[in-house]
């Protein structure tokens, strides 16, 4: 995936693909499907990631198998807030973070 300019870092649309997963269409034409549970596991908030060390506190066995986004709100110009089915909603997913995750998911670095 090529994201050369900051403008291309913006999504055009964020949609449901099924009951669980999220599809983001990026400005540069790329389409990435984000599996629901993976998004929850990647939560960048201070509860899920140690603020000082950056070590992930959230473990696989702490998250239900069927966890999924129940709602998504925009945050300013730069991110989204995901309200998960387990009540967790403190993570702010910036476009950068979602692009990085998108690269991992599509095997493109």
């Amino acid at each position: 995936m090529e994201f050369s300019t900051p403008q291309e870092l913006k999504p055009i649309s964020i949609n449901r693909v099924n009951e669980y997963d999220v599809k983001i269409n990026w400005k540069n034409g790329m389409e990435v499907i984000y599996p629901a549970r993976r998004l929850r596991m990647e939560c960048p908030c201070a509860v899920c990631v140690d603020e000082l060390t950056g070590v992930r506190r959230l473990q696989e066995n702490m998250v239900a198998e069927d966890v999924h986004p129940a709602g998504i709100d925009p945050v300013g110009h730069y991110a989204i807030q995901i309200h998960f089915s387990d009540g967790h909603n403190t993570g702010i997913y910036t476009w950068e973070k979602l692009v990085d995750l998108g690269k991992k998911l599509t095997g493109n670095t």
Binding site: I14, R16, P74, G76
Partner: protein, 361 residues
């Protein structure tokens, strides 16, 4: 002659030569030409600009008039001006739907005159006919009530609090809720709550511009504001000397991180001009704003001279743009307000063509 009656298409074609110097597009493509009427070779139309504070509105009117007059057989041209401020498209979660543009005014360092600049720009924008609000979010040292001479308290309206109107500007200030002999000693969540109330529970009504006077620095208030609402863009106030410029850059870095665009830099206390000789003395050095502008690729929107009258008018409650209209500092503020309005139009026109993120979830 009567056979070759001019039609609307010909007139629109002729008007395409008139280019808005800020938006770099012709006034027909920008949709400025409204209510075009042609009767017996007499032409009248409306030019609907993107802001009543447009710095080039007279030039645009003249050029449009000339362009039409050049067509064969035209007997009279009548151009009227109006303005419809374009909205900064909200990305959905807009807790203040009537507000078209939110412009935070920040600085890294305190004491650079951020509140004086905010107040004068808000009043100057209102003077052009725009509807303007001013939110004084400087909880630690709210000075807007003093600068605008407000002694009233906000009253409660049907749905929330009504802002106090002063010099044509709707004002809400942290100072309304803290007694002069008290200090705000709050932790972050309290600050966030106040900002959310200022945004969500104040009956601002319809506003073209909401100017937000931020506290100095890069803390909770700035963070909450940037996270809660899509901002049009930030204005950075600095003074010329390196110590202020270096800290102003920290504010810029914060806005960049939060993806809040920068509209420009204002250099306050830029120079002192002798009334007798007109000689300029650069008390705090020079070139501070220019250095920021070059490094961060943002325009310098204005340089405000140091003047005793700026300080006096701020203390007396009538901002200098009204108190001494025509004085060098007042003119500098008015010009800065126009440049700011132009930058906002540029950004919104660009955003319109870029489109918004649509979230369906």
């Amino acid at each position: 002659m009567n056979d070759s009656q001019i039609n609307q298409e010909q007139i629109l074609d002729a008007l395409r030569v008139v280019i808005d110097p800020d938006l770099h597009r012709d006034i027909v493509a920008l949709g400025f030409v409204k209510e075009l009427k042609v009767r017996n070779n007499r032409v009248s139309f409306h030019l609907e600009l993107t802001t009543p504070a447009c710095p080039v509105k007279d030039e645009l009117r003249e050029q449009a008039e000339d362009a039409v007059r050049k067509l064969p057989g035209i007997e009279a041209v009548e151009v009227t001006l109006s303005a419809q401020v374009r909205s900064h498209g909200p990305t959905g979660q807009n807790i203040i739907p009537g507000i078209k543009n939110v412009i935070p005014v920040g600085s890294g360092k305190g004491g650079v005159g951020k509140s004086t600049v905010s107040a004068n720009l808000a009043v100057a924008l209102a003077e052009t006919g725009a509807s303007v609000g001013l939110m004084d979010a400087d909880v630690y040292g709210p000075s807007i009530p003093t600068i605008l001479g407000i002694n009233d308290q906000p009253r409660s309206g049907g749905k929330g609090m009504l802002p106090v109107e002063a010099h044509g500007v709707k004002v809400i200030s942290a100072g309304f809720f803290v007694k002069p002999d008290q200090a705000v000693v709050w932790r972050g969540p309290m600050l966030a709550k106040m900002i959310e109330q200022f945004l969500g529970q104040v009956e601002w009504g319809e506003l073209d511009y909401l100017v937000v006077d931020l506290p100095p620095g890069t803390g909770d208030v700035q963070l909450t504001l940037c996270q809660r609402i899509p901002l049009t863009g930030a204005l950075i106030v600095t003074t010329p000397q390196p110590v202020a410029v270096n800290i102003a850059e920290k504010a810029i870095i914060m806005f960049n991180q939060l993806k809040c665009p920068l509209l420009g830099v204002v250099e306050n206390m830029s120079y002192w001009e002798s009334r007798t000789t007109g000689e300029r003395e650069f008390i705090f050095g020079s070139g501070g704003a220019d250095r920021i502008a070059e490094k961060w690729e943002v325009p310098v929107l204005g340089k405000i001279p140091l003047a005793t009258t700026v300080r006096e008018s701020s203390d007396s409650g009538t901002p200098i743009v009204l108190d001494e209209a025509g004085s060098p500092a007042a003119v500098a503020f008015v010009d800065t307000a126009k440049s700011l309005a132009a930058q906002i139009s540029i950004r919104n026109i660009r955003a319109e063509s870029e489109g918004l993120v649509s979230i369906n979830f």
